[in-house]
């Protein structure tokens, strides 16, 4: 199934991805030209290949579909994604994977600021580096960064786990480095393997919550 967004716009594509007939389909999307809301709310197990750059909210709220973008992605990529796989062959703009609940998001390039903000269960693997305030208030899920992390990573993080191979410019409030146990090495290996990346899991450090801010305490007010 082919869609040419230059002539059709996004509505035909999105409606098709909501219909049962898209189950098992191979969908190719041409001329995305940075359009917003491409392949949003996909409901079925199908493969979607987007040939070019996409704008805001591509693959948002995805369920089951495997979506690949041969280009860069604008803000809010795969926001509130529930399941399936989204792969960006270029870079991703700010708030990729925001509030997402499940599935796997792979960024082959870099991800901008607030990557994985309010994460609720999605796994994100970034082959490059991530911008500032990434994993802000991340609740559950995992964020793997093969490059470096910018300032205030993991600020006010809850139970999400972050693995970083390179340098971390600074940690956000209540985010600390934690020991890498065997179970963490194992889960990281699996994530890297699923993303198709060949890095040694042992070269990563793990970060997570110090859990000092879980219940309001006036003595912690200066931390904010």
């Amino acid at each position: 199934m082919k869609f040419d967004l230059a002539g059709q716009g996004i509505r035909h594509l999105n409606r098709y991805l909501h219909e049962p007939e898209s189950q098992g389909a191979e969908v190719e999307v041409d001329n995305p030209s940075g359009s917003h809301n491409i392949a949003v709310g996909a409901l079925h197990n199908c493969q979607v290949l987007v040939n070019g750059h996409v704008g805001y909210y591509c693959a948002a709220m995805n369920q089951h579909a495997e979506i690949t973008v041969r280009g860069n992605a604008g803000p809010g990529l795969a926001e509130n994604m529930m399941s399936g796989t989204v792969r960006i062959m270029g870079n991703a703009s700010q708030y990729c994977g925001a509030t997402a609940h499940g599935g796997l998001l792979i960024i082959e390039g870099n991800a901008s600021s607030r990557c994985g903000i309010s994460l609720k269960g999605l796994d994100i693997v970034v082959a490059g580096s991530i911008g500032h305030m990434s994993a802000f208030m991340a609740q559950t899920g995992r964020l793997v960064v093969c490059g470096d992390a910018a300032e205030s990573m993991g600020d006010s993080i809850y139970e999400a786990r972050i693995y970083v191979r390179g340098k971390v410019a600074s940690l956000g409030t209540d985010c600390i480095e934690k020991p890498m146990g065997d179970e963490h090495i194992q889960e990281l290996r699996k994530l890297l393997e699923r993303a198709g990346l060949d890095y040694a899991a042992g070269a990563f450090k793990r970060y997570g919550s110090a859990r000092r801010l879980y219940n309001f305490d006036v003595d912690n007010a200066s931390l904010y």
């Binding site: 996004i10 509505r11 999105n14 409606r15 909501h18 917003h36 809301n37 949003v40 709310g41 409901l43 704008g55 805001y56 909210y57 948002a60 709220m61 369920q63 803000p75 809010g76 926001e79 509130n80 529930m82 708030y95 925001a98 509030t99 609940h101 607030r114 903000i117 309010s118 609720k120 269960g121 802000f136 208030m137 609740q139 559950t140 006010s156 809850y158 139970e159 879980y214 219940n215 309001f216 006036v218």
Partner: protein, 443 residues
């Protein structure tokens, strides 16, 4: 008695009154600001400061019980394939499962459905009970996105993007750990017993241009079937309403500072925002300025209590209103029936505002299963329905007296103001004059 003080000689400071002294000393003792529920308690200009002009010689009334006065309103006519048709212009505002018990949410749903109006989810997502008992359910899309999922989004009859609320415009929320039961924790993807912060702004857009794309995203995901509302707390209302229209809203919801909350800092509740009275007039002016009045529907909320409040809001140009606190009161909140239990909590019926601590003796603002059992959803629903019916009858009574066959035919010309302040805010003449302060107006 010799040591009895003659009270008539005591002069209390207006600046440092006894409640102020008590609060300063509480703050000094506890080292934390006061967090509470309910809404603003300070005296504010309200719809009570306006009066309706009944018909006489220059207008003639409709027969009070016999002639038809339509209350039906259609919401979301701008873009949605399936606008909402409500039988009374009074809807139930968004309140979360978490802040409220499942029984309370079900009671609100049952009451709204019985009279043909809509109810609204809240932070934390949609519960199956609420969906089952709501004929028309508006799904709130909030900054925290707790419990947010596309399956529930598609089950909704409308989507309300919450930018802010009247009790705390610019602020987020905090559901304290004592209200985080297993079920609430599971719905929100967080451990049990920890404070759950609801962010003050959305994680994936920052301004009105982004919001326009966000609205399109939600429409695409729901195939343009259901209306998209945008809710703002009343502050810079003229600009906010115009930006909401520009972003593509079908319906704009403006929540004045009397709007309630489950848990916010007292300083926020009492000192941020503008009252509902000026907010509704400003919102209508903003819509008219764009030529979008009645094309984009306006819902106002914040301290609505009676059919008179509804009639005045509609006369100022609103299409419908929402109630929150009043609906909780209808279910039994602050009822003298629970006076003894309120006393045990150090308060009294009529004053209870500690919705945040989960010990509500009425079973409304709690997650304690034993307390929750005190609220029968069937009875609660019946009370909400009765209350909505009374408000609707009051509204019709007033509209008929003004000669209107449809409640939305009430207009600003049907109002006069009792105070200089309300005249200036509502832009209706001060009673007995043709004067509107700050506005050139000729009768």
């Amino acid at each position: 008695m010799s040591n009895e003080v003659d009270q008539s000689w005591l002069l209390e400071s207006a600046t440092f009154s006894r409640p102020i002294i008590r609060e300063i000393q509480r703050a000094a003792r506890e080292g934390i600001y006061d967090i509470r529920g309910f809404g603003a308690k300070r005296k504010l200009p309200t719809f009570d400061d306006l009066l309706l002009l009944g018909a006489s010689m220059s207008r003639y009334p409709l027969e009070g019980y016999r002639e038809k006065c339509d209350t039906r309103v259609t919401l979301g006519t701008r873009f949605a394939e399936n606008p909402l048709v409500i039988e009374t212009p009074i809807t139930i505002a968004g309140m979360s499962f978490g802040a409220l018990s499942a029984q309370a949410k079900e009671g609100l749903a049952r009451g709204a459905t019985e009279v043909g109006t809509s109810t609204t989810t809240g932070d934390g997502g949609m519960t199956p009970e609420e969906r089952e008992h709501s004929r028309l359910l508006v799904y709130q899309y909030l900054p925290s996105r707790y419990g947010m999922n596309p399956d529930d989004l598609r089950k909704a009859d409308a989507i309300e993007i919450v930018v802010g609320q009247g009790a705390k415009p610019g602020g987020g929320g905090m559901l304290l750990g004592q209200k985080i039961s297993d079920r609430v924790a599971e719905m929100r993807d967080l451990p049990k017993g920890i404070d759950q912060r609801s962010a003050c702004r959305h994680p994936d857009w920052t301004g009105p241009d982004d919001l326009e794309i966000k609205v399109q995203e939600l429409r695409e995901i729901t195939d343009w079937k259901v209306p998209v509302y945008i809710k703002v707390g009343a502050t810079r209302t003229f600009f906010d309403v115009q930006l909401a229209v520009k972003a593509g809203a079908d319906v704009v919801v403006v929540d004045g500072m009397q709007g309630g909350t489950a848990a916010t800092q007292d300083v926020f509740i009492e000192h941020v925002g503008i009252p509902t009275l000026p907010a509704v007039r400003i919102a209508v002016d903003a819509l008219k300025d764009l030529g979008m009045h009645r094309k984009v529907q306006l819902i106002v909320s914040g301290g609505i209590r009676s059919g008179a409040d509804v009639a005045k809001a509609l006369a100022l140009g609103a299409d419908a209103v929402s109630i929150g606190t009043a609906a909780l009161i209808a279910m039994g909140d602050n009822s003298p029936e629970f006076e003894k239990r309120y006393n045990e909590l150090g308060t009294s019926a009529g004053f209870y505002d500690d919705y945040q601590d989960g010990q509500d003796p009425t079973g409304i603002s709690t997650q304690n299963p034993e307390l929750g059992k005190r609220l029968d959803p069937d009875i609660a629903g019946r009370r909400v329905a009765n209350y909505l019916r009374v408000m609707t009858l009051e509204l019709q009574t007033l509209a008929r007296a003004a000669g209107k066959t449809n409640v939305r035919n009430l207009e600003r010309e049907d109002l006069i103001a009792l105070t200089v302040e309300s005249s200036a805010m509502a832009r209706v003449p001060l009673a007995g004059t043709d004067w509107i302060p700050g506005f050139e107006h000729k009768l």
